[in-house]
């Protein structure tokens, strides 16, 4: 980075820090205690407290809920480096995320690339302000890892598409206002060439959603059903039957998001060794269980190496060199690490790590049990580990089909 840009960036850092210190309510500088503290916005937004509402309003007014988006679409027009600084300064202050939004994280970037001017103007500003809550209609029961074999049909009828079918694994479909959705618009074409990308208002007649219970208990995931749902043709993103390109671009954003959130999540949890000291005790300062200790150290090292690799990848990109297809590696390794972490946590807690609700275990123990069970899905959702391995083998290593 040239010195001038670096100087600008340090200036930006200073002003950002000052603004955050002045405007982030103190209650928003404490760690979120649970998912109930998350702010997802939407038509009927739920805030854990008044400060959370104020914090969202202030951030949205700055365009900092979607910092790299252009100002005219509700963003702040920041460079990647500036956005990173904003992120770092928020972490430094311990600011909670003002808005969680699939619209900002996943839809926004592809709408900026593939959307019409009208679509951008219609959807991006209210999304950045947290007024539209989006959900993602990708997976289907019979498709699974073979996403492109999806069956939900959309048939053009006048100036509307009529949508029939079923989605599954749609996070918060029961609470979302709109869905970005893959539909089949040409059943005769090869499977990747008959798919389109539609935006669907979840209030439309014929849409319904039902939450899915997981092995870990209640979940944000839903099944969503479409029964003759009419969707205005203006809500098609990209070209008719050209949705697969949009879908793939969005998946890249999702994968990057998952590995980033995983990385962030690690920092927040109590280190395994600290939990282990409480449950297993120490001899002369050394964890009493040599075998668990070895596995904890392995997990700690692997987590360090993974973080270093994420950093190297980001630096490579910033240095203007082409990155590899590393998102697959990060998705794969990050989720396997997470599974390993929670398995270890449960083994460390022993009998107290496998208690069910109603047992005399603590809230933390119960949470770790749920997190352990929930983590089994990490290597399946968002592209299974097997799919990531296929991608690495083919695109990174160039192994033949």
């Amino acid at each position: 980075m040239d010195p001038e840009r670096r100087g600008d960036l340090e200036e930006f850092r200073a002003s950002t820090r000052a603004w955050l210190e002045a405007h982030c309510p103190s209650a928003m500088r404490t760690p979120a205690r649970s998912a109930d503290d998350d702010v997802w916005g939407g038509r009927a937004p739920v805030f854990p407290n008044e400060d959370a509402r104020v914090w969202l309003e202030r951030m949205a007014a700055k365009g900092w809920t979607a910092p790299t988006w252009p100002r005219e679409y509700g963003g702040a027009g920041l460079s990647r480096d500036e956005a990173r600084v904003l992120d770092e300064e928020q972490r430094r202050l311990g600011c909670r995320m003002a808005l969680k939004s699939f619209g900002v994280w996943m839809l926004g970037p592809v709408l900026l690339e593939y959307g019409t001017e009208e679509q951008k103007r219609t959807f991006l500003p209210p999304t950045a302000r947290g007024e539209i809550r989006w959900c993602q209609g990708y997976s289907e029961p019979s498709a699974g890892s073979d996403l492109a074999s999806l069956q939900t049909r959309a048939v053009l009828d006048g100036d509307s598409y009529v949508v029939d079918g079923q989605k599954v694994w749609t996070s918060h479909a029961d609470k979302a206002d709109w869905m970005f959705c893959l539909v089949r618009t040409d059943a005769a074409a090869p499977k990747h060439e008959g798919i389109s990308f539609l935006l669907i208002d979840m209030r439309s007649p014929g849409v319904s959603a039902r939450p899915i219970r997981l092995i870990s208990g209640a979940s944000p995931f839903c099944e969503a059903f479409f029964d003759g749902v009419r969707v205005p043709a203006s809500q098609l993103v990209g070209t008719l039957n050209g949705g697969w390109k949009v879908a793939k671009a969005l998946l890249e954003h999702e994968r990057a998001l998952i590995s980033k959130m995983r990385d962030a999540a690690f920092g927040e949890d109590e280190p395994l060794e600290s939990v282990a000291k409480r449950y297993l005790g120490t001899d002369d300062g050394v964890l009493a269980d040599a075998l668990l200790r070895d596995r904890i150290a392995q997990a700690g090292m692997d987590s360090l190496c993974n973080s270093l690799t994420l950093r190297r990848s980001a630096e490579t990109m910033r240095a203007g060199r082409p990155p590899g297809h590393e998102t697959s590696m990060f998705k794969l390794y990050g989720t396997e690490l997470n599974k390993r972490r929670f398995e270890l946590l449960v083994e460390i807690e022993g009998y107290r790590g496998v208690g069910a609700e109603g047992s005399d275990v603590s809230a933390e123990e119960l949470a770790s049990t749920r997190a352990w069970l929930r983590s089994r899905a990490n290597s399946i959702e968002g592209g299974s580990s097997e799919i990531q391995l296929n991608i690495i083998a083919r695109r990174v290593l160039g192994l033949p089909e």
């Binding site: 092995i215 496998v354 275990v361 069970l373």
Partner: protein, 386 residues
């Protein structure tokens, strides 16, 4: 196990095969996985169905390993193992391990004839549920007993707290492991007492587990028992405790073998039917190889469980080694198979709707119960003198 011996066979006899058919018929009909789900969803206080236990007892299961002199059937662990394997296939909760193998085993192996006559006929009839109160911390440890039994006039006063007592919340009486001498961790100084759950000073708390079973925390707050409550001579219980825990590990291993077999077979069936990219996912070589590796692990588990069950019946000196090997292997194999079963089932594998998650939860809890893989490798090493 050395060459040149003619050890007991590892192949099921025809009688054992018919016991399997009877057990399978009953379990599949009366205690399929929906049975466990119903108990779970009702937050059942016992965690198993007494009616089913009565029926199983009627089939001879409760008395299978006890002699006819106490109302038993006079068969062996080879036969009981077959039943446990079938119960494992549907995750059927029963008090077999707690009542028959652990507490009943302690009375049978350590009790006087009077004590045997007092308790075992009821066990064989399926009328009495007992539990072994042994562990105290967050994990199984054979001699880590801090619970004290202090001599008082005509008996002992017991003080301590026990955790993870299998079926302890529904047991009529508890066989308590307490210490009359020595320090925590010592093999010497242990004693076993049969304590009615209704005794003053006994406090039982149900602690449900994630596999939808129930274990208990049991406090003994100066509980006074008579000398006749002791199984054998107080202070010398380690031999009986070792035999009981070895049998428990083997019996639980048999149940886990059933669970591993079922989870594996369901997964192989799914690999053949589920299609992705236009072909059955079982045609993908990476999944094939993983399935083939699991097959080997399951087959090795089967062999060691069969050998361990038969070794109990043969009264061989190799029971402790085989118990350690059987429990270590079934623990590791069941958890691995169930985890792979989830991964290979994909999204539906993590939904509560599918049974696969129930197998995974059971695998993890059963693996911890009576010692996990690492615990039993340690024991295996000690038994081999290293």
């Amino acid at each position: 196990m050395s060459a040149g011996n003619t050890p007991v066979s590892l192949v099921l006899t025809e009688d054992q095969e018919s016991i399997r058919r009877v057990a399978r018929d009953y379990v599949q009909r009366s205690m399929p996985t929906t049975h466990l789900r119903a108990l779970r969803d009702a937050d059942d206080a016992l965690g198993y169905a007494p009616a089913c236990w009565s029926e199983l007892a009627g089939l001879g299961v409760a008395g299978m390993v006890f002699p006819e002199s106490v109302g038993g059937v006079g068969l062996g662990f080879a036969e009981l193992g077959v039943v446990l394997e079938e119960c494992g296939r549907t995750l059927a909760p029963t008090p077999i391990v707690s009542t028959v193998v652990l507490a009943g085993g302690a009375i049978a192996l350590g009790g006087s004839e009077a004590q045997r006559q007092q308790w075992l006929p009821g066990v064989c009839a399926g009328e009495r549920v007992l539990a072994l109160a042994h562990d105290e911390g967050t994990r199984h440890a054979r001699y880590r007993v801090a619970t004290r039994a202090e001599p008082v006039a005509g008996g002992f006063r017991i003080t301590g707290e026990k955790t993870f007592v299998l079926d302890g919340h529904g047991a009529e009486a508890l066989v308590v492991v307490a210490r009359v001498d020595g320090a925590v961790g010592d093999r010497t100084g242990l004693a076993l007492f049969v304590v009615p759950a209704s005794s003053p000073g006994v406090a039982v708390t149900r602690t449900p587990t994630v596999d939808s079973r129930n274990v208990a925390r049991v406090r003994f707050d100066g509980v006074v028992v008579g000398v006749d409550a002791a199984l054998g001579a107080p202070g010398d219980a380690a031999d009986v405790l070792d035999r009981v825990l070895d049998r428990g590990a083997i019996a639980l291993g048999a149940e886990m073998l059933g669970g591993a077999l079922e989870a594996f077979e369901r997964t192989v069936a799914y690999l053949k039917t589920r299609k992705q990219f236009g072909v059955p996912i079982g045609s993908f070589q990476a999944l094939k190889h993983r399935a083939a590796q699991l097959f080997c692990e399951v087959e090795l588990s089967r062999s060691v469980v069969l050998a361990a069950l038969r070794a109990i019946d043969a009264g061989g000196p190799d029971v402790p080694v085989l118990a350690a090997a059987a429990k270590a292997r079934t623990s590791d194999t069941f958890v691995r198979v169930a985890a792979e079963a989830i991964q290979m089932h994909g999204g539906i594998g993590v939904t509560d709707e599918l049974d696969i998650g129930l197998f995974y939860k059971r695998a993890k809890v059963a693996a911890m119960t009576l010692g996990d893989g690492a615990h039993h490798r340690d024991r295996f090493a000690r038994l081999h003198g290293y």
